[in-house]
């Protein structure tokens, strides 16, 4: 198998793959190996992003000809991706750890609504942020306890939480939209530092923290072990139950951060907010190369997954195309990403089998 065939199986032609040939040959074996799978996938996703931008530039040349507009548009795409990106980081951890969290949208709603009640708002900015984060973590912990100690299937436990948490949010808010009167919170979405929106910094920070946590700490190694083979992980001395509990709490924390970001963007919170975020986050994690069965996945891939969706939304908006068509394309991309994953995984195992025999 040459480098060329590997490239051909990528979802799109990606310029960054064209590394100097000498270097590619030297690293050829490694590049084809199982360990380089995330790298190849990320390059593929970057390729998809480049293609999307080229389509945008071809369809609306007058907009893309304006440098300020392009810069602003890039920030808009990143801003639109920021809250869902933070949620996806938490979701990626949960999925790598062999679980799933269907309640993320509902946790955002309950954290957002709780932190914008009149009583909480009277405690000021710190009180609101504290409330959103703690509510997120607590709801995540409840999920974790139900799953690891109550032995509920993650799908069922978080499905129940999704319904219940929306109920709590509707109860607290009295089904009204709660407007945030806190100017500090509201200004998070409009403030820029050094020309870059604060929301983008938050996203970058969370992604960086997630990357370090997954790749450079024992917590991350344990997450992969627990998701890959829980029994082996237990025999290796990992407290699988407690670790699973922590993963859901982490997802809850991410939802708390996202709740503040969304509240700031919409200057309000309501029980119906963050509608279907669970599906967007799962989809982004999956197209970023996270295995739904656990044990494998990357934070950077998940980030690219979110960015691909955000860029598609942007592309359809600037061309005034219907959201129906946009949803169909999104669906097709999810299927394509999983097909690529399966195809590559199978061919790789065959390849490895052949070389070892």
């Amino acid at each position: 198998m040459t480098d060329q065939t590997t490239k051909a199986s990528l979802p799109a032609q990606s310029p960054p793959v064209e590394a100097p040939p000498a270097q590619a040959r030297a690293r050829g074996n490694w590049f084809k190996s199982d360990g380089a799978e995330p790298l190849r996938r990320n390059l593929g996703l970057i390729g998809v992003l480049v293609v999307l931008v080229i389509i945008g530039a071809a369809t609306r040349p007058e907009l893309y000809g304006d440098a300020t507009w392009v810069k602003n548009n890039t920030f808009t795409i990143l801003q639109q991706a920021s809250a869902i990106g933070v949620v996806t980081v938490g979701m990626t951890f949960v999925i790598i750890g062999g679980g799933i969290d269907l309640s993320v949208g509902a946790i955002i709603a309950v954290a957002g609504v709780w932190s914008t009640t009149l009583a909480t708002q009277s405690y000021g900015t710190a009180g609101m942020i504290f409330t959103a984060l703690v509510v997120g973590v607590v709801v995540g912990l409840i999920n974790g306890v139900l799953i690891s100690y109550g032995r509920l299937v993650p799908f069922i436990a978080t499905l129940a939480m999704m319904v219940a948490a929306r109920g709590v949010a509707a109860q607290i808010s009295g089904k009204q939209t709660q407007v945030s009167a806190n100017t500090t919170i509201n200004s998070i979405a409009s403030t820029r530092w050094l020309g870059i929106p604060v929301l983008v910094y938050i996203l970058a920070l969370v992604v960086a923290a997630g990357w370090v946590l997954l790749n450079r700490t024992t917590f991350g190694r344990r997450t992969v072990a627990v998701g890959g083979n829980p029994e082996a992980a237990r025999l290796a001395g990992i407290n699988v139950k407690f670790h699973t509990l922590l993963l859901y709490a982490l997802s809850g924390l991410c939802c708390g951060i996202a709740a503040i970001m969304l509240t700031s963007q919409a200057t309000s919170a309501q029980a119906a907010m963050a509608n279907l975020y669970e599906l967007d986050a799962i989809a982004a994690a999956i197209i970023g190369g996270t295995l739904l069965s656990g044990g494998r996945g990357t934070i950077i891939g998940a980030l690219f997954g979110v960015l691909v969706f955000s860029t598609i939304t942007n592309l359809f908006a600037i061309n005034n195309l219907s959201t129906e068509a946009q949803n169909m394309v999104k669906g097709a991309i999810i299927v394509a990403a999983v097909l690529v994953q399966q195809f590559r995984y199978k061919s790789l195992t065959q390849l490895l089998g052949r070389s070892s025999s």
């Binding site: 709660q178 919170a269 005034n320």
Partner: protein, 347 residues
């Protein structure tokens, strides 16, 4: 191990403390603005207490300001009558749960049944059943296809709302002398019939001026959905002349997006007529210059009319001895000039 358990105790007590602090934070009593017809017996002979009427009431438990206002208005209006007893059941999350809730309500034999169905088509059979059992049905806002399924239908005018918004925008742009305007539209949930009617009315009204919608980005009736849709729209239209946002609740997010992008070159028209929107129009310090009504006051009127139906009375201003079968509210345009008059109708 002792080290670990101490850490856990610390974490545990910290969690309990945080929990205690948080529960104090759920107290939440915003002022409710309900629209009630306070009765004046001299002016209106129908206001005099009459035969006791038990009104069964059911509306979806949707988490939207408009639906919340519907329920609050119905309760407040019923409370204003000494001869009305309101039995309200929440309709839950979908048509099936509402059907179950209505079955228990019908079994209690109320004098009149007022309902805002999840979906008129799906609950048509329940309306028929109640009418056959001799309980007059007042359908609020979402029409039953079968005319035998209701005694009275009172609803807003979605098509008219689009017409009102389109006409206002058209007139404003004409008077400013804009020849080839860029007009944006942010509808609510696009798959709903009501959204399609609104958009159709809007397009038709604009067509009479020779204008058309340049870009439309549907949201989902939530503020965060409105913010996302508006951000996309503003990005797609670097210069815009006018914008119609179908719903004032999602308009909170739309206005937030407008402020975040610092855009001021266009004017915006809202929809529904929320208190926040009317206040913003009065203050005249944002791009929001008008809103077209789709008022939840129809719930108050529905209770008043249900009472008259229960007491076999007509509307005193009309010649007919009975309440008419269909009432469609006109969609009115609220601008800075008449905002004061509408302030009490905001929800």
């Amino acid at each position: 191990m002792s080290n670990l358990s101490r850490r856990r105790i610390l974490f545990g007590s910290a969690a309990v403390g945080a929990g205690a602090l948080l529960t104090a934070c759920t107290s939440n009593t915003p002022q409710e603005n309900t629209q009630v017809n306070t009765n004046n017996e001299e002016a209106n002979p129908n206001a005099a207490p009459g035969q006791k009427v038990v009104i069964g009431f059911s509306a979806p438990a949707a988490d939207h300001g408009w639906i919340a206002a519907i329920t609050n208005n119905a309760k407040a209006q019923a409370g204003a009558y000494s001869d009305v007893e309101l039995r309200a059941v929440e309709a839950g999350a979908d048509a099936a749960t509402q059907r179950a809730a209505l079955a228990t309500l019908i079994a209690q034999k109320p004098t009149v049944l007022v309902m805002l169905p999840h979906d008129g088509k799906e609950l048509n059979a329940v309306g028929l059943e109640a009418m056959r059992a001799g309980i007059p049905v007042v359908n609020l806002d979402r029409a039953f296809p079968d005319r035998a399924a209701y005694r009275l239908q009172i609803k807003g005018d979605n098509f008219g709302m689009g017409i009102a918004a389109g006409t206002y925008i058209g007139q404003q742009l004409k008077s400013k002398g804009v020849s080839n305007p860029v007009i944006g539209e942010i509808p609510g949930i696009d798959s709903l019939e009501l959204t399609q009617e609104r958009s159709k009315g809007f397009a038709e009204a604009l067509a009479t001026f020779g204008f058309k919608v340049a870009n439309r980005r549907p949201a989902d009736f939530t503020a965060d959905g409105g913010q996302r849709a508006a951000t996309d729209l503003l990005q797609a239209l670097p210069k815009m002349d006018a914008l119609w946002n179908h719903d004032d609740d999602q308009g909170i997010g739309v206005l937030a997006a407008v402020n975040q992008t610092n855009r001021k070159e266009f004017f915006m028209v809202g929809g529904a007529g929320s208190k926040a929107a009317i206040d913003a129009i009065t203050a005249d310090n944002s791009v929001l210059k008008a809103t077209v009504t789709y008022s939840p006051s129809m719930a108050s009127s529905a209770i008043s009319l249900a009472r008259l139906i229960g007491q076999n009375k007509g509307m005193s201003d009309l010649v007919e001895l009975q309440v008419p079968k269909e009432i469609t509210l006109a969609s009115e345009t609220i601008t800075k000039e008449n905002a004061a008059k509408y302030a009490k109708l905001g929800f």
